[in-house]
């Protein structure tokens, strides 16, 4: 029984993004593991540490450089990893097919973790498509999980103050939310150990996935420019309060 963790290689949230050509970005920036996937990995490691006999396998569809994210995953507790290599950008319809095919071929999943969303394409959907391809139940934005051999009981934060509790039969797909845990960042010895762990590379083109009839194509990418012109509000606290009320009333028209 394996725990699979889908990890995406994404630009650092603090990186400056510049557009190249019509629909691509300059990739010479810092790339990291998608932050939600760090929560997923930390949770997988926690479940393993609790004595459940499992192997943790990190899976990624990405360009060759995505190996770095798989190395981080192995430093954070994955035992081995699979890189589905490609030289292009792919939408979540293809991504989910590729991840499903790689997991199906590799072994028997117990839990498949993903993050709740990726911070680059902000798709919010890969976990659901993956679950559909594998015929498994799925829950997302999971902030608490109790796993046993039969399945998992999860708590999902739907919105402020609303928690849904679901029971899913194993195998199942779990989309990690931020509230799940504090990521367990690797120590130097972890990093050294991870260098010896195996990365299996498979070429996306050689994966037996059907060509979908549907797709999502990025036609154009432009920088979001919205430089505002700040105006100062000054005076006593009461003066400032009055000016804010005036803005709310006469400019924003919300009162």
């Amino acid at each position: 029984m394996n725990i699979y963790v889908c990890v995406k290689h994404v630009p650092d949230s603090a990186a400056t993004i510049t557009v190249e050509g019509d629909n691509a970005i300059n990739e010479k920036i810092t790339w990291l593991m998608n932050p939600y996937d760090e929560h997923a990995l930390t949770e997988a490691a926690r479940i393993k540490a609790a004595g459940k006999a499992v192997e943790i396998v990190a899976v990624c569809l990405g360009k060759p450089a995505a190996e770095n994210t798989l190395r981080s995953a192995m430093a954070m507790g994955a035992d081995r990893s699979i890189l589905i290599e490609t030289d292009q950008y792919h939408d979540s319809i293809i991504t989910a097919r590729a991840l499903a095919a790689a997991i199906r071929k590799d072994g028997t999943p117990w839990i498949i973790f993903t993050g709740k969303e990726s911070i680059d394409s902000e798709g919010m959907q890969t976990q659901f498509r993956l679950a559909q391809h594998l015929g498994l139940p799925v829950a997302t934005n999971v902030i608490k999980i109790n796993a046993d051999s039969g399945g998992v009981t999860v708590e999902c934060e739907r919105e402020a103050g609303t928690i849904d509790v679901y029971r899913m039969a194993a195998p199942c797909v779990v989309g990690a939310g931020k509230g799940l845990n504090n990521p367990n960042y690797p120590t130097f010895p972890d990093i050294v150990r991870s260098r010896k762990k195996p990365v299996k590379r498979i070429d996306l083109a050689e994966q037996a996935i059907d060509r979908p009839a549907a797709g999502m194509q990025i036609r154009e990418l432009v920088p979001a420019v919205e430089q505002r012109t700040p105006k100062a509000l000054a005076g006593s606290a009461a003066d400032i309060a009055a000016q804010i009320v005036d803005i709310l009333k006469n400019e924003a028209k919300v009162i």
Partner: protein, 316 residues
Amino acid sequence: MQPIGLLIEFKGGQIKPANFGMATAARAENRQLVALVVDTPANDAKAALEAYGVTRVVNIRTDSNGWNPAVHAAAVVAAMQENGITTLIGLTSPTGRELLPRVAARLDAPLVMDCIDIDLDAHRVKTSQYSGKTIATISMTGSHFIYGMRANVVAPEEAPAAAEVIDFPFAADQGSGFEVIETRTDGSGSQHLAESDIIISGGRGLKNAENFKLLFDCARHLNAAVGASRVAVDNGWVPYAMQVGQTGVKVNPKVYMAVGISGSIQHFAGMKTAKTVIAINTDAKAAIMANCDYFVVGDLFDILPALEKALASVKR
């Protein structure tokens, strides 16, 4: 007439106002607006939907006894098929984030969430990527098209019509391996951030959990929602659901007030599309002060009580 499905959401028995903006965006001569209402008495909603041009209300009734995203999504797919609907629009709300991707996965259909612009004829949308640093134009191909709209991008405009109400009973498949144990609500989420017109957020400058009361006091007068920076959340002052930003909620209000928040790149990622941004900060050099519409160089502990007083005395 091409039927366009609108996934309708309710809050406290009322249709969420952002649904009317969605109807407005979808309306055109050659289209018929079909409202999909799941496990909510649709008759109460009929008049409100008619005012915005809906001509058919599909009253989906499942056997799920309350919220169940797996059953609700299956029911929406069945109702779409029954009504010849190949285009579905919903909100990028907590409910939309659960149902729209499940619907898209079932239909193996393209889906773009958080659209800020939708061209239903060309199947082309705009959405932000890379935490709001770029705007992508995405074209979709397939036999079905699913769209998640960002709330408040289109202002609602009335266009009265008459609607028929059709009942659509749905029985879920057994043995899906997915079961709802319970839904717990503590009542704190009365206003969801993503759909609020006015948001007042606090950061490290608030110093502790108790001081957030200053924000809630102002918010009450405005029917505003209260948000927070990650620092406030990580310190345990407020729940994660209140976090605005790249790894929190992305909001699109008419007014965003950032109080004691420095304006990190990750915070901006969640609120940069706000119409008017007002910042209150003791540090004139904080990043937020250089990219807002109005800034106050001052101590929030002076300004907020004065603001609360001013708001309390506004006649409306």
